[in-house]
């Protein structure tokens, strides 16, 4: 027994008044319901009968002959446009579907491969990135080290610029041929003295180096030294007191062991 709703839908369907989703749903419904299908067929026949209520008009006299003549024509000719190839439509559709499926499958494979390739490229890129990052870190460390070294060198250079180099000259003609150079490092408060051709002295005597600093009333003692038979001296010296400014170096001849305050003759002097 059909419901009122089904009867209504069947009536509308008979007149072709169902559309879209409503029509699709109803077609599905009556396809699975024999009783409803019978109702639909019956109402469709009734609806078709309404055609007979059109005002009767005789068709033109030549129409029958025209139709019979057209019926003789091979399909696809005449006024009626028929499509002989339509009988191949299912095969064409199947072929199209097969082609589409094949195409989609190939596209799928291609995309998968592209995806794999992209993944590999991404992994490679990540590795390269990490390597670059490591190299950058290493280079950064290296650069820091280099910068530190450069800084050190720069500081050393600066230190060098602060070194005071003085050539000492013979005084009073007692060591005319002697050549002496004194280098003073104010940061380290130490100095280096090199002398050549300095005359040898008696065993009871010592040469003594003095640093003249205006801050002190007397030269600061830098220590005593002896000269070898070849007249050469290489002496590192350190003053007894802190030296702020070196005005001059002086070397005097003193008694053995040196004196706290210069007493003997000054043999070399340099400013």
């Amino acid at each position: 027994m059909s419901t009122e709703r089904q009867e209504e839908l069947a009536a509308l369907h008979a007149f072709g008044l169902l559309e879209g989703a409503e029509r699709d749903a109803f077609v599905s419904e009556f396809a699975a319901n024999l009783e409803l299908r019978a109702l639909c067929d019956s109402l469709a026949g009734t609806a078709a009968a309404v055609a007979l209520t059109a005002p009767p008009i005789d068709p033109p006299a030549g129409l029958k002959a025209r139709i019979l003549a057209a019926a003789d024509q091979p399909t696809g000719t005449g006024r009626v446009i028929s499509f002989p190839l339509l009988k191949f439509a299912p095969w064409a559709v199947a072929a199209a579907l097969a082609i589409a499926v094949t195409w989609f499958a190939s596209q799928n494979l291609t995309l998968r491969q592209e995806n794999l390739t992209l993944r590999s490229e991404r992994q490679l890129a990540e590795v390269a990135y990490k390597m670059a990052q490591n190299q950058l870190s290493e280079r950064s460390l290296l650069a820091e080290k280099m910068i530190a070294e450069l800084g050190t060198q720069l500081r050393q250079s600066e230190d060098l610029t602060r070194l005071k180099v003085t050539a000492l000259a013979s005084l009073a003609g007692n060591s005319k041929e002697a050549q002496a150079i004194a280098v003073w490092n104010p940061a380290q408060q130490s100095g280096l003295l090199t002398i050549e051709r300095l005359p040898a002295i008696a065993a009871t005597q010592d040469y003594q180096i003095w640093i003249v600093d205006p801050a002190y009333p007397n030269p600061v003692n830098g220590g005593v030294f002896q000269v070898g038979p070849d007249g050469r001296v290489a002496l590192g010296f350190k003053p007894d007191q802190p030296v702020a400014q070196v005005a001059a170096f002086a070397i005097s001849l003193e008694r053995k062991g040196g004196v706290p305050k210069a007493e003997g003759p000054i043999v070399l002097l340099g400013k």
């Binding site: 009867e7 009536a11 078709a48 309404v50 007979l52 008009i57």
Partner: protein, 224 residues
Amino acid sequence: MLLATARTFSFTGIALPRRAAGARFQVMAAANDSPELNAQADAQAGLLAAMARGEKAALAGLYDSLAKPLYSLAYRVTNDATEAQDIIQDVFLQLWHKAADYHVSRGSVFSWAATLTRNRAIDRVRMRKRRAEILAESAGELQPAAPAGDTDSAGSLWAQEKAGAVRAALTRLAPEQQKAIELAYFSGLTQQEIAARLNEPLGTIKARIRRGLLQLRQSLPAHL
């Protein structure tokens, strides 16, 4: 009901002779059991079967039987004689080529042919976008009877008899049901457009179509 059948039909526009009304009503009342009608329907099915075997004479026979009501239908929908001829040619050629596809379970041959004709006609009307014009031209309650409508072959006499039964059944419907069914079948309008045209709620229109069609089915011969 007797009054309705006795007067000139206003819905269909067919002016039937008043003297024939009583006889027509009797035909309608007995339609469901009429052996002549069943025989004619069977004959049409036989013609279609012969067409399926390639017998061209059968096509001519079916044309004689159905051309007039189908042409009338096509003209009624399109309101254009040239288009109606094209449609009829298309339909008969389709019947010729597709005759083997017909099965009695699909309904009568006439129902099949009428459905093909109507669908093509409505398609053309929609394609031309002349719906408004068509409706305006066919909106009248009274339509003139076709001048050539009385010159009938045996086949179209069958159609006349059927048409009488259908018209008589239609007149037994309420006028608003008749109008709804007329628009539903001939106009190509959607449900909503029919409701708008008749200025009624959509649900009312659906109910009228349902009740009208069911009532019509009760009154019509089984084989049309």
